[in-house]
Symmetry: C2
Subunit: 352 residues, 2 copies
DNA sequence: AGCAAGTTTGAATTCCCATGCAATCAATCG
DNA sequence: CGATTGATTGCATGGGAATTCAAACTTGCT
């Protein structure tokens, strides 16, 4: 295959930005109309085999690729979806983002990523999301009613990922955090734990709130009051500090610590062992939530509830794509039960 | 502010996709030309204060936002960059992706994310990257010379992140893995370790190769031969299996294990402690690489080399943006030394 | 007041592709 | 063989914003 350095346009050697070949260039080279080129590149459009071949040859020669931007303009479909995450979400769950991206990708949809510093600064990002005319949005950050309305007005479907606002009329995929916590508490109580403590996540995290409420509810149901509470930030260190704070509050170690996520549970275990010389689960039981990688490390083997990430991301992707196809679909919430993991970080009764 | 339900276009209540307001709509409403609207939304363009106000008012009324797609078509700038990662990269280093995104974002650039299943299946993804007319690319996956040429031909600058191909004429940001390994080995040898073993990463990982070679080199320099080698996949479990395999090979535990990353080092420690009843670092020293979160957990406290992610991502972003602005800039490589962390997972001499 | 110089503004054009419509062509049938 | 049907193909248009050019308008100064 010789260098096509004769084809009018110089084939810039290196670095020099040259004009990219357009469908007109290909058409001229192939001796057909521009529409023909467009049709050849549109799957399912009518074009003869001969036509197809000529166009493809010409396209190959000049390295033609349809311009997705121009196509988006005319079709009113960018084939991009916005994915909004916060730093927190990603660190706790790096695979969520990759899974979402791969699943969208395998369906011909590209992901435009928006990473919020905090849950708060959504405004600027949303403006961008709207400017880029994404076909839909998956958000793992909270949106205000007003912001939600902006998307609604623009006809852009939104799916919340583990973040369901009050309004009933939204699409959401989430893990049943409350249910998971209730199970954890039930197991702990059944195994005889009585002095409970909780390390919550950040105050403004809806997930943390749901988990804490779920645990508290179940505790109350089982007649357990006086629960020591510490507030954390989902990070390892706040798990350690949380445990220290609880011991201070109680004047002695608790029977059980319910950490709002695995990372804090791990911090908690390290603190109990390294600083307080306690045996986990002999002296104190610790449970977490999420099922992150380190939860399964031999040093921790957390008793926890794991989020079924694969199924949840798949649900989010298909929910969103359905609603892009058919904007009339009614809102839907899909709630997944967590996977119950009876690890070694908590003393549980043996029978299931 | 009353509902503008009189403004001709019905303000679709909910769900119904309506036509988004265009610059023409705003122009008509404000009684000015479309060009005026365009200018008002372009920072630094000439427009009188009065004009500006009228246009902004009208824009607000109809919820106008410039269409980034259309803008991209005419300006030949999408203001999007492609970021290519593989599943592996992201899981080891979730913050890389978020940091890149935030840094681009703060400079008005959006990130189009491409997640490769393996390092291999780049072809399809690259096609998409080119179709979307991104202004530049950061890749944490390997590209073939041919693929690189495609970007070059298209005038799209590429920055490799921790992945530098043989060709000298590429832009790259990377951590000096070899140097880091040499330091680790040096420390271990100085502290008296003699029977060494290595757990490498996947065969096809250039980073793993560089680390392994760096370590081997230094070992040889210091007169140490007969190094037991196990091949891992960067995952926790392969760290465990790696250690088991090494013990099998040697018939006894090694003095030191050099794991190609932290995750495997952690697996290695767990295996040594839990299965072989060894004391780390008393019986065996383990070192890793990367400086991931769990490396600092009290149960491990890895001796490792931490990648300066913040500086590296910043370097990648600014290198890429510079080259988008000025395509004449010569290729550049920026190599960062890792941060040396003398943790408790290895027995080291005390003096520095 | 008169004019040069600078600033705003609008009309027209451009970016690249998809698609409705009409024209053309090939194939089928009576 | 002519007419009908169906598949291809090309023409022309449109999608939304940026930008060039020239016209209109300000401003400052003599």
């Amino acid at each position: 295959m010789a260098q096509p350095e004769n084809s009018g346009r110089p084939s810039a050697g290196s670095g020099r930005a040259q004009r990219r070949a357009t469908s007109y260039d290909v058409a001229r080279l192939a001796g057909v109309s521009q529409s023909a080129v467009s049709r050849v590149f549109k799957p399912g459009a009518s074009a003869s085999a001969a036509m197809r071949r000529r166009v493809m040859d010409a396209a190959e020669q000049v390295g033609y690729r349809p311009n997705a931007i121009a196509r988006g303009l005319i079709t009113q479909r960018s084939n991009m979806v916005g994915v909004i995450i916060s730093k927190l979400v990603n660190l706790n769950y790096p695979e969520v983002l990759v899974e979402l991206t791969q699943r969208f990708s395998s369906r011909g949809i590209r992901v435009l990523l928006f990473a919020l510093e905090t849950e708060g600064d959504t405004a600027a990002a949303l403006d961008q999301v709207l400017q880029y005319r994404v076909d839909g949005v998956v958000t793992a950050a909270m949106l205000s009613g007003e912001q939600l309305k902006m998307f609604d007005d623009a006809g852009i479907p939104v799916v919340f990922y583990n973040r369901a606002p009050g309004e009933p009329s939204v699409n959401a995929v989430r893990c049943d955090h409350a249910e998971g916590e209730r199970w954890l508490v039930g197991e702990l109580v059944q195994a005889g734990h009585r002095r409970f403590s909780i390390i919550t996540g950040p105050e403004d995290s809806p997930v943390s709130t749901e988990r804490a409420l779920g645990a508290m509810d179940k505790l109350r149901e089982l007649g357990i009051e006086n629960v020591a509470v510490a507030t954390g930030d989902y990070g390892y260190h706040s798990g350690r500090e949380g445990f220290a704070s609880i011991v201070r509050q109680l004047g002695e170690p608790p029977d059980a610590v319910i950490a709002a996520n695995d990372m804090m549970a791990i911090g908690c275990i390290d603190e109990a062992r390294a600083v307080h010389g306690l045996n986990v689960p002999g002296d104190v039981s610790v449970v977490g939530f999420d099922g992150v990688g380190p939860a399964a490390y031999a040093a921790y083997l957390l008793t926890t509830v794991s989020q079924p990430v694969a199924r949840m991301t798949e649900a989010a992707v298909s929910m969103l794509l359905e609603r892009i196809e058919d904007s009339e679909l009614p809102p839907e919430k899909r709630v997944f039960s967590g996977i119950r993991i009876r690890g070694g970080s908590a003393r549980l009764t043996v029978d299931r």
